[in-house]
Structures are given as structure tokens and as C-alpha cells.
């Protein structure tokens, strides 16, 4: 017999009433997303663990800060993780000016055949944080634009344009790596 999956809202209300099981379900459901985001952003496993722990500590201590009308729970949690990661990494880097670069050649297709996943990982890690976070959310975690906008505290259009610029940067970096 299947039990009805509970929504985040239901679980959150149970959690706020002291139900440990409900909190456990929420943790199992969303801690991987928070953890992976923090790991992608920091490139440091231990920092990702600390950020994940602190994020859920915030959920325990101040659950009423979550506003269901403003977005999903995972977007709120990732938003907390984002702030914690940025704080841990120090000052937020300024947005790197994008050097538009033609990606008209077929080197990328060559790259995918010859390069490993490590090349993509390094390219993502080398992105400025403002682009890395949008790639981490939208491409690596397949979060939709709306949730990403909530997590990043910006309009959906900004998410989309940042993602476009981030992907252009990635293609440029991978292309130059390939050519090198």
C-alpha cells in the first residue's frame, strides 16, 4: 500500500508542530540539492557539508521565515545555502565582463569526444560566482527558472539571461581549452 506523498507545506507544518519524522522527510528530500549546490559553488566538500548543516539549522530555528507564497521550499533553502556559501568564500566577486566570443566552429563537438567530464567541471568552477550559481541550479540540478529566481533573489528574466551568458562563457572556455 502506498502512502500519499506529503507536500513540503504539509511536512513543514508537521515539523513546526514538533514532528521529527516530517523534518526527516524534508531533510532527505532537499538536502542533496543544497549539498550539491554548495559543493558546485565552493568546490570544497567540507564547506558543502557545513553549508548544508547550517542551512537546515536555519530551517529548524526559523521555519516561519519561509513564505510559501514567494516560492518553493527548496528554492528558499538553496537561497540560504547561497548566502552561506558566499559568506564562506569571502567577498562576492564582481560580475566578470563577458567577452563575447564566437562559438561557430565545431570544436565543441570535438571536445565532447576527446575531453573528459573534468574539463566541464573545471570550466564551471572557473566561472564567476554569479554565473556559476545559475549553472549549478538550472543545468546541474535542473531547477526551473522560477525556483532559481527565488533562490537567487532576482527576476526570472535575469536568471535566463545570466544562464545564457554563463553557457556562452562555458563554451568559450571549453573551446579555448580544446584549441590550446
Amino acid at each position: 500500500m502506498h502512502s500519499t506523498p506529503q507536500t513540503d507545506g504539509d511536512l513543514l507544518r508537521l515539523m513546526m508542530a514538533g514532528n521529527e519524522d516530517a523534518f526527516g522527510v524534508l531533510y532527505e528530500r532537499w538536502s542533496p540539492s543544497v549539498y550539491r549546490f554548495a559543493w558546485h559553488m565552493s568546490g570544497d566538500q567540507h564547506m558543502a557539508e557545513e553549508v548544508t548543516q547550517d542551512t537546515f539549522m536555519t530551517l529548524v530555528r526559523r521555519p516561519t521565515m519561509f513564505d510559501e507564497t514567494r516560492g518553493t521550499l527548496v528554492a528558499w533553502l538553496v537561497g540560504i545555502a547561497r548566502n552561506l556559501t558566499r559568506r564562506a568564500l569571502g567577498a562576492v566577486e564582481d560580475e566578470e565582463p563577458l567577452e563575447e566570443c564566437a562559438t561557430s566552429s565545431d570544436v565543441l563537438s570535438d571536445l565532447t569526444r576527446r575531453e573528459t567530464i573534468e574539463a566541464v567541471r573545471q570550466a564551471v568552477a572557473a566561472l564567476p560566482p554569479v554565473y556559476r550559481e545559475v549553472v549549478a541550479l538550472c543545468d546541474l540540478q535542473e531547477m526551473d527558472y522560477r525556483d532559481a529566481a527565488t533562490a537567487l533573489d532576482c527576476p526570472v528574466g535575469t536568471v535566463r539571461s545570466r544562464l545564457h551568458r554563463a553557457r556562452t562563457l562555458l563554451m568559450t572556455k571549453l573551446q579555448s581549452r580544446c584549441l590550446a
Binding site: E20, F23, R36, W39, Q53, V60, S104, V120
Partner: protein, 260 residues
């Protein structure tokens, strides 16, 4: 070709799984550059998907946050005075912490006075049913045979200062029925103590079968007996009198007795 800039983000969406529709399809048919761009976008998406992690945080993180949850939700017992407990038995419900509306003190006093009157009524009815007694302290010397138990509830005496065998204390009910409740006997002193019967608080919700009850022993000014409408016998008003208060699992007082 014209319009390439306008479709760049749409190309990205298409590479991420969005369907290629009308205007974009037409543009791609006439623009080899954008077709190449779309192909590169798709390759990039595949590369990103390949590096997407399936990692989960280690168990130590889970243990830490669950411990924090337990700590944050630790139940702190609410301490209430005997007067509050008696008033709650009479129907008064104290406001929860953080309630915007507070019950005015005058209503609290009304509830407490009503509780005191209820106890007075209970004592009056009890003494009328047992004409040999003249007050709560004397009734203990003239304990009537125990009525067969209808409800027996395990009791945890608090505080159990001395380990003493369980005894059966009779709870006198003024009008309807009698209840027998097993309670832990109070500490035995050198001089045998004399206790009144447990006077059940009228209008209090009856105990459920097998409901756990607690007995709290208090010392209070003897003058408080007068507040509750009980006769003050054999002592000055400012001396202390011992009382056992029996509460249900909900913390509401169900019965009270006085010890000499």
C-alpha cells in the same frame, strides 16, 4: 542573418529540452550559424548533465541537524501554581505564550474564586454524606470502606522522596460515584500522617481508564484552606499545611487532599 540575437536565449531553452517551435524552426532552416550554435548548446547540456553530481551529504550532517531539531523541540513542562491548576479544573484556560489577547486578571480571579467555591461545595456535600466527620482532617480517621474500583490508574508520585509501597487512596466524589486510584504513598514520617480523602474536583473531566495521574505534594499557608472554603482546625492561619494534589495527564487537577 537577421534575428540571430533575438533567438539566442530560445536556442538555449531548446538545448535544455524546450520544443523547437514555429518562428525558431523557420529561423534555423535559413541560418546555418544558429543551427551550429544549437548543436553546441546541446553538447554543452549533455556535458553538464554528465557532470551533474548524485552526491548526498554524509550521515554526520543528518545526525547534527536531527539533534538540533530535538533540542529545539524539547518539551519544557509548564509550571503552574496550585491555584492555577484548580482554576483550570474549573474551566479556566490560561492564554498560550505569545497570544495577542490576554485574559484580564479580574477574570482569572473570578475563575479561581469559582474553583474555590466548587471545592467548598464538594467538601460540604462530602461531609453531609458522612455525618460523623466534621472537617477534612477528621474524615481521615473515619475512612469508610473502599468502594470497589471502577477505574484504576497507575500513578507516579512526584516527588518520590522515599520508596514506599503503593497504597489505595479513595477519591471521594460528592454525588455520583467513587473512584479508586492507586497512588504512591507519601513519605513515611516517624509519626503516622493523617490524610483526608481525595476530594474530587467537581466539573473536572473524569479520568480515563488507565490514565496516568500525578500526585504533587505542596506545603501552603494554612490560610489557603480558608481560601478554598475549608475549615481551619488546629493551627494558626500563618502555619503551613501539606496538601496532595492529583492531576491527570493533561496537568489539570482532579482531586486534592490535605495532610496532617
Amino acid at each position: 542573418m537577421n534575428g540571430c540575437e533575438a533567438v539566442q536565449e530560445i536556442l538555449m531553452d531548446a538545448a535544455r529540452g524546450a520544443p523547437v517551435e514555429g518562428g525558431l524552426r523557420e529561423h534555423l532552416e535559413g541560418c546555418p550559424e544558429c543551427r551550429r550554435r544549437l548543436e553546441n548548446e546541446r553538447i554543452l547540456s549533455a556535458g553538464l548533465a554528465a557532470m551533474a553530481s548524485r552526491a548526498v551529504p554524509p550521515a554526520s550532517v543528518r545526525n547534527a541537524v536531527m539533534a538540533e531539531f530535538r533540542r529545539a523541540n524539547r518539551v519544557t513542562p509548564i509550571r503552574r501554581s496550585v491555584f492555577q491548576r484548580v482554576a483550570m479544573a474549573a474551566g479556566y484556560r490560561p492564554p498560550a505564550d505569545g497570544d495577542a489577547e490576554r485574559v484580564r486578571p479580574v477574570f482569572q480571579w473570578v475563575a479561581m474564586v469559582a474553583a474555590a467555591a466548587a471545592i467548598l461545595l464538594a467538601v460540604f456535600v462530602a461531609t453531609r454524606h458522612n455525618p460523623t466527620t466534621h472537617g477534612p482532617e477528621k474524615t481521615a480517621k473515619n475512612v469508610a470502606p473502599v468502594v470497589p474500583a471502577r477505574v484504576e490508574a497507575p500513578v507516579t508520585a512526584r516527588p518520590p522522596v522515599h520508596a514506599t509501597p503503593a497504597v489505595t487512596a479513595k477519591v471521594a466524589r460528592p454525588a455520583k460515584r467513587r473512584r479508586v486510584v492507586k497512588v504512591q504513598a507519601p513519605p513515611v514520617d516517624e509519626t503516622p500522617e493523617i490524610a483526608t480523602e481525595f476530594f474530587e474536583i467537581p466539573y473536572a473531566e473524569p479520568l480515563r481508564p488507565e490514565e496516568r495521574v500525578d500526585v504533587f505534594r505542596f506545603e501552603m499557608p494554612r490560610a489557603n484552606m480558608a481560601v478554598f472554603g475549608l475549615p481551619v482546625i488546629g493551627g494558626r492561619l500563618d502555619s503551613r499545611v501539606t496538601a496532595d494534589v492529583l492531576t491527570g495527564e493533561d496537568g489539570v487537577v482532579r482531586a486534592i487532599r490535605f495532610i496532617r
